[in-house]
């Protein structure tokens, strides 16, 4: 409704990166535990285009977080091939091609909110003045400009999570990896954060790989929702979201009939994947 952004065309981000943000080909991950081998992921094929918002949804143990960790190079795949902007994940991580946020805000409790947002910039040798300017800008963006000097312990869970998101955006990444970042928030805060994230992503043109448990959340945020099933973790279906362009999604979108139609589509894919896989395949 009220979008005062002077950004010209939404086509721009796609052309800045010729390579897709994430390409997975037959990716698998097997964990060795004391009680034997556990197949967390098997035969995952997925492409996330530059500037695209893709959610991973599925029951616990379907490997959605594992897939995200593989993309982030926090773990290594045991099979298949994975590239991030055409590079191996390790090279992408060392080149700081992505920003990351977890379910826990993971702020350093002894650093002020500002110093937490500045952390990645500080680690990568950005000068003091530039760091301060960027942190101010980001904290304004997540609505915490007045809390720059506070310690994380003085903030609510929702505010801490906003700081974590500001931190993940500090280096203007072209890819955002988010592992249930709103999982621990109450419903009201959660919806507000989703609306904010949609706006931020539209502004920055970053691709997003977003892990969630919530169907409405996945539908509201995404261009495509990847539905996964467990044991072994694999992609059971990809549901394209037919809603309006993500940039124009607002709170009103949640009451749109198209929104409900997409929620239903994802729910059926999710439940079909567990009970009647064949029926889903025919759709």
């Amino acid at each position: 409704m009220t979008v005062p952004t002077p950004t010209p065309a939404p086509v721009a981000p796609v052309t800045t990166h010729p390579a897709a943000a994430v390409v997975a080909r037959g990716v698998g991950k097997t964990f060795r535990t004391r009680s034997g081998e556990v197949v967390a992921l098997e035969g995952v094929d997925l492409t996330v285009a530059a500037g695209e918002f893709v959610s991973l949804i599925g029951p616990s143990g379907c490997g959605k977080s594992t897939l995200l960790r593989l993309v982030a190079d926090l773990d290594e795949p045991t099979s298949g091939e994975l590239t991030v902007f055409g590079k191996p994940p390790r090279v992408a991580r060392e080149g700081q091609d992505y920003g990351i946020a977890f379910q826990q805000a993971g702020l350093l409790p002894w650093r002020t909110v500002r110093a937490n947002v500045e952390l990645p910039l500080e680690l990568h040798g950005v000068g003091r003045r530039q760091r301060a300017a960027r942190a101010t800008e980001l904290l304004e963006m997540v609505g915490l400009g007045d809390f720059a000097g506070h310690l994380p312990g003085q903030l609510s869970g929702g505010m801490q999570q906003r700081v974590a998101i500001a931190r993940s955006l500090a280096e203007r990444p072209s890819l955002l990896l988010m592992d249930e970042p709103f999982g621990a928030l109450d419903e009201m805060t959660r919806e507000r954060m989703q609306t904010e994230l949609v706006r931020i992503c539209a502004e920055s043109g970053a691709a997003v790989l977003f892990v969630t448990h919530s169907i409405p959340e996945a539908v509201f945020l995404s261009h495509r929702v990847v539905v996964m099933s467990a044991r072994p973790g694999r992609i059971s279906q990809v549901v394209p979201i037919s809603l309006a362009a993500t940039a124009s999604r607002t709170d009103g979108t949640r009451e749109d009939s198209a929104f409900f139609a997409d929620v239903t589509a994802v729910r059926e894919a999710l439940h079909g994947g567990a009970t009647a896989a064949r029926g889903v395949d025919l759709r």
């Binding site: 960790r69 982030a72 190079d73 926090l74 991580r93 060392e94 700081q96 992505y98 990351i100 977890f102 826990q104 993971g106 350093l108 409790p109 002894w110 952390l119 990645p120 500080e122 680690l123 990568h124 310690l151 994380p152 312990g153 003085q154």
Partner: protein, 254 residues
Amino acid sequence: MTAAAVRRWLAPVVLGALALLGWQLFVQVSGVKPYLLPAPTAIWTQLVTVWPLVWRSALATGTNVLVGLLLGALAAVGAALLAARSRVVDALMSPTAAALAVMPIVALAPALNTMFGTTTTTPRRLIVAVVVFAPVFVNTLRGLRQVLPVHRDLLRAYAATPGQLARTVTVPGALPYLFTGLRIASSTGVIAAIVAEYFGGLQNGLGSRITAAASSSAYARAWAFVVGAIALGLVFYLVTLAAEQAVARRQGAP
């Protein structure tokens, strides 16, 4: 002072006053010999008389404690940093710390006196350092191992070097544990410094004065120095406790 603070201080002060009163009455009524147990009033009189000497002795012993505490803590933190980084060092250091923790200062003091001579404070400071090492080492090492998985993942995502990980996450995270170790070590450090003076050498500290007064049958005077020793122990305990709480508050603890 707020009502809550008054209530917190009132109970122990009243208890202490009652105990002193009971002590005084017991000594007067039972007629117990002064060399067995002097009356609080007699001790107080002595304390006022020898006050300059108590103060100087407390300063001398206090300096030994402070130097030993810093030496022992520095060594312990250095060892903990190495042990946290390498399994081999850990396997070497942890048994050493355990051995130091159970080492009797009563046995160590005469040995160190012989090594360094009796005209120097070095053996006393070393004894404090030895006593301080174990609690600081064990606590700091535990703190260094407390890195949250989410912080580890985050710093890996940032491609942080091991040095950066230590500077931004591991070491700041271990600070509260280090200060807990210091608080525990400070009391035992004071006791060790005083006991170390019982085995000859310089006659400038509280421990030396207590033994000297006792050996010349000036029991009330010996007790006056004991009061000084209690005060010295309390000072070290309260200062390290305040530091521990200040650090914990800074880390977001309630």
